[in-house]
Amino acid sequence: MLPLVSLTLFLPLVGAVLILCLPKPATRTVHVIAIITAALTLIGALSMWFQGASGAGFSQVEELQWIPAIGAAYRVGVDGISLPLVLLSAVLFLVAVIYTSSLRERPRAYIALVLLLETASIGTFTALDGILFYVFFEVSLVSMYFMIAGWGHEDRQRAALMFFIYTLLGSLPLLLAILGLYLGSPEPTFDMRAWIENPPLEGAAAMWALVAMLITFAVKIPAVPLHTWLPAAHVQAPTVGSVILAGVMLKFGTYGLVRFALQMTPDAFREAGVVVLVLGVVSALYGAFAALAQSDLKRLVAYTSVNHMGYVIVGVAVAAITLDPSVRTVALDGAVLQMFSHGLVTGALFLLVGMIQDRAHTREMGELGGLLKTVPMLGWTFVLAAFASLGLPGLAHFPAEFQIFLATLSASPAAVVVILGIAIIAGTFLKALRETFLGEPRQRWQSMPDLSAREWLAVGPLLVLTVGTGVAPSWVLGIIHRTTSALAL
């Protein structure tokens, strides 16, 4: 029996080390190794996917002694909540390294950072040990910091610094919560399965732990009012950095919200559920309005992420509040599917914005215009991704958001006001499409080339999956549902 999870997890790291060890490799070699590594990782993730996950608890668990004296071990495994996210990460990192294969500026260090980040991301989703989870969670920060600081745009140093300090400050409360859970366990252990099975804290201690976790995850998600690092980081980050930041790293927050907050302090979460629900609603609406006000295409997409992640928070909060197991299942199904869909759609959007910027060297919508005629393929792909993002039926976000709203309606009808967000996001994207793609083509952009083969390879798979998930969501939902319906809270 192959240790599939560990193989998939450490393959990118091996690739990164290989690239660093080669003496003066050609740029081409670096990119080829990167693509092969990411492809192999995707194969690993797919085999994990086909192994599947049983209903309750975790499957494909791999365990290795680490520090038995304090009950810490190397433990990894998956369930229906983490499996889609692992697959999503593997897909996004593959398209990211394909997209980045045109990079000429210090490709070796850049690719090594991307691959290190892939290990950190898959590790965060598969870790079943408190310390291990925290380790991967933080390693992702470091590699993202260096990606933004080294390869970002004009004001990258400041943005990278802000990102690092902000999110480090944000993630340290989680460390306290993990320590609290550890010290509260009857038999001191960092085994997350034990914490889920038997939530170790209760009463005020559980509430404090929950507050600490909420701070951490709200920064990561990001939820209003702790979102201010996001637009700065996104605008300055290189395209691939944005794709991974939005597509994968924001999910650390929502995944943690389910895995830690909901599963390890369920009673406290139920008590505080309304507060979290309000947080989600405010986040979703604020994100939508803020997106509407942007003139910079990349900032706009960044703010729609705040909106979409707000829906996930709403879904998880509803799952915590409701007493009806069937409603809870629907809410969680929606929330997890929303994470998956958001990764695909926003990943595609950031790639497309990056392609526009590569060509026009601007992201200001006012300066663009008429691109649909100049670069029709790029234009229409963007239209498709934008429609997916605004929740058009038949595309990835629709089944997810539909389930979230359905559950919200039966659990706390007042919160359905969040549905307004859809309308605002629709307005935002229609405005963006009009300014950027419609109208008469401008003289300035006449010579703009359309999508190249490399760009097709990068954005194509995401769009196929977006349509596939929208038309037949059951291929993902099936695996999610098996776990969420067996979830005992």
């Binding site: 680490w66 004296a69 310390i131 933080e138 920060l141 080294g150 300090i165 320590l179 550890y182 010290l183």
Partner: protein, 453 residues
């Protein structure tokens, strides 16, 4: 008697090494002095390994052979070897090269005496022994700044040492014995306990550069040779902190000593990083950073006697700290003393750049590096004894420390001047050893934590 001496074999080996190095120096054979010092310390380390897990005392309880003192040897002896490598680069070819190696060995004996102290007199002996050897080391270059730094260091040491001895006289009067193990007998005299404790904290706190007894540290680090700064920031400091842990093990818990330690921890961490934030001199920045790091040790000391995590956390962090701090100083020895020297380092010397980033991130406590594992256990120990607020302050300080260390990292990746690194084999050896420990300590943490559970 024979049993007692057998348990002290590592200390005796270090003493013989120091004497051997001195004799070689008297014969004007500095190369041999170096060889004797390094091989003697390696032998002493090897001799210590068989003592792991021992928990006993020798000479009527006055010296302890327990986890703290055994691990002190396993950490400080290799750290001294690395410091000797660094010193070799600084003093090669100078007039009394061999004395430096010999003095480093003597100072290390002092630190080991402190770490195993079971008697108040050993506290005095240990501080004097490390002190006398290190004053001379700081003054070694015979330049004005070095002499001034050594003078400051010396005056500070005399005053704090005198205060400590004065306070210890209270303990002797109250307990009727100089043994630390007899301290619990004073529980009827809380004032005497507290007075003595404050005095001990002054004496050991100076050695460990806790705020407010830290003033000598940045000057001494900057004035003396860099290798001596690296040594001072690791060996005597860890010795003094382990001694503090030995003292509080036997203090009556109701005397309120934990409040004093908690206050000092908060003060030391916060002041250390705030002061580091405004330094332009890399050595001073690292000096203040090492002051702040002492504050983290205090989190573990807070929990001594009440939490099983206390001793493992202190020991593990000591090992991590020794590696990452020596590593950072070794890079500074390679590159230069001001922030400007680091401009563009990451681009022109990628390997040294990566190493420095790893040392600094480890000092912040970013996983999976050594510093994280140590700090993680220290936080756990503090929370375990209900000092959650100190852990919270420590965590906030970790964020502050990120700002401090990024001040070094950011210029490293700027387009800058081409940095020429010294290509000394000794510096390289230190870098590689420190880097390996910093990277892998987390994976093998069980080795340090194992015997306790």
């Amino acid at each position: 008697m024979a049993r007692d001496l057998a348990l002290l074999i590592p200390e005796i080996a270090v003493l013989l090494t120091a004497v051997g190095a001195l004799i070689a120096e008297m014969l004007r054979r500095p190369q041999i002095a170096l060889l004797v010092a390094v091989s003697g310390l390696i032998v002493a380390t090897g001799l210590t390994v068989s003592l792991i897990g021992e928990d006993t005392t020798v000479f009527g309880g006055s010296f302890r052979v327990d986890d703290l003192s055994v691990w002190a040897k396993l950490i400080l002896l290799p750290a001294t070897i690395l410091a000797i490598f660094l010193a070799r680069v600084d003093v090669r070819g100078t007039v009394r090269e061999g004395t430096v190696y010999s003095l480093l060995c003597f100072a290390t004996i002092g630190a080991l005496v402190l770490a195993g102290a079971g008697d108040t007199m050993f506290l005095v002996l240990g501080t004097l022994l490390t002190g006398l050897a290190t004053f001379a080391l700081v003054a070694y270059p015979d330049t004005d700044p070095a002499t001034e730094a050594a003078m400051k260091f010396f005056v500070f040491a005399s005053v704090t040492g005198a205060i400590m001895i004065f306070g210890l006289s209270y303990w002797f009067g109250a307990a009727g014995s100089t043994l630390l193990a007899d301290l619990p007998g004073m529980d009827t005299m809380p004032m005497a306990v507290l007075l003595g404790f404050v005095a001990v904290v002054v004496g050991l706190g100076y050695k460990a550069s806790l705020v407010p007894f830290h003033f000598w540290a940045p000057d001494a680090y900057e004035g003396g040779p860099l290798s001596i700064a690296a040594y001072l920031s690791v060996v005597p400091k860890i010795g003094a902190l382990f001694a503090l842990a030995q003292v509080v093990r036997d203090l009556p818990p109701e005397s309120g000593w934990t409040a004093i330690i908690a206050g000092l921890a908060v003060l030391t961490m916060t002041y250390g990083y705030l002061a580091a934030l405004v330094q332009d001199n890399v050595v001073r920045l690292l000096a203040y950073s090492s002051i702040a790091q002492s504050g983290y040790f205090l989190l573990g000391i807070l929990a001594v006697g009440a939490s099983e995590l206390a001793l493992p956390s202190i020991i593990l962090f000591a090992a991590a700290y020794a590696a990452m701090n020596l590593g950072a100083f070794a890079v500074a020895a390679n590159i230069g003393r001001t922030l400007n020297d680091f401009d563009g380092l990451g681009r022109s010397q990628p390997l040294i750049g990566i190493a420095m980033v790893i040392f600094l991130l480890s000092l912040v406590g970013i996983p999976p590096l050594a510093g994280f594992v140590g700090k993680f256990l220290l936080f756990a120990a503090a929370i375990d004894v209900q000092y959650t607020w100190v852990a919270v302050v420590a965590i906030i300080n970790s964020v502050l420390s990120l700002a401090v260390y990024l001040r070094l990292v950011v210029p490293m990746y700027r387009q800058g001047n081409v940095v020429v690194a010294r290509t000394d084999i000794w510096l390289k050896a230190v870098l590689i050893i420190a880097l390996t420990v910093t990277l892998l300590l987390g994976v093998f943490a069980q080795v340090f934590v194992g015997p306790f559970a």
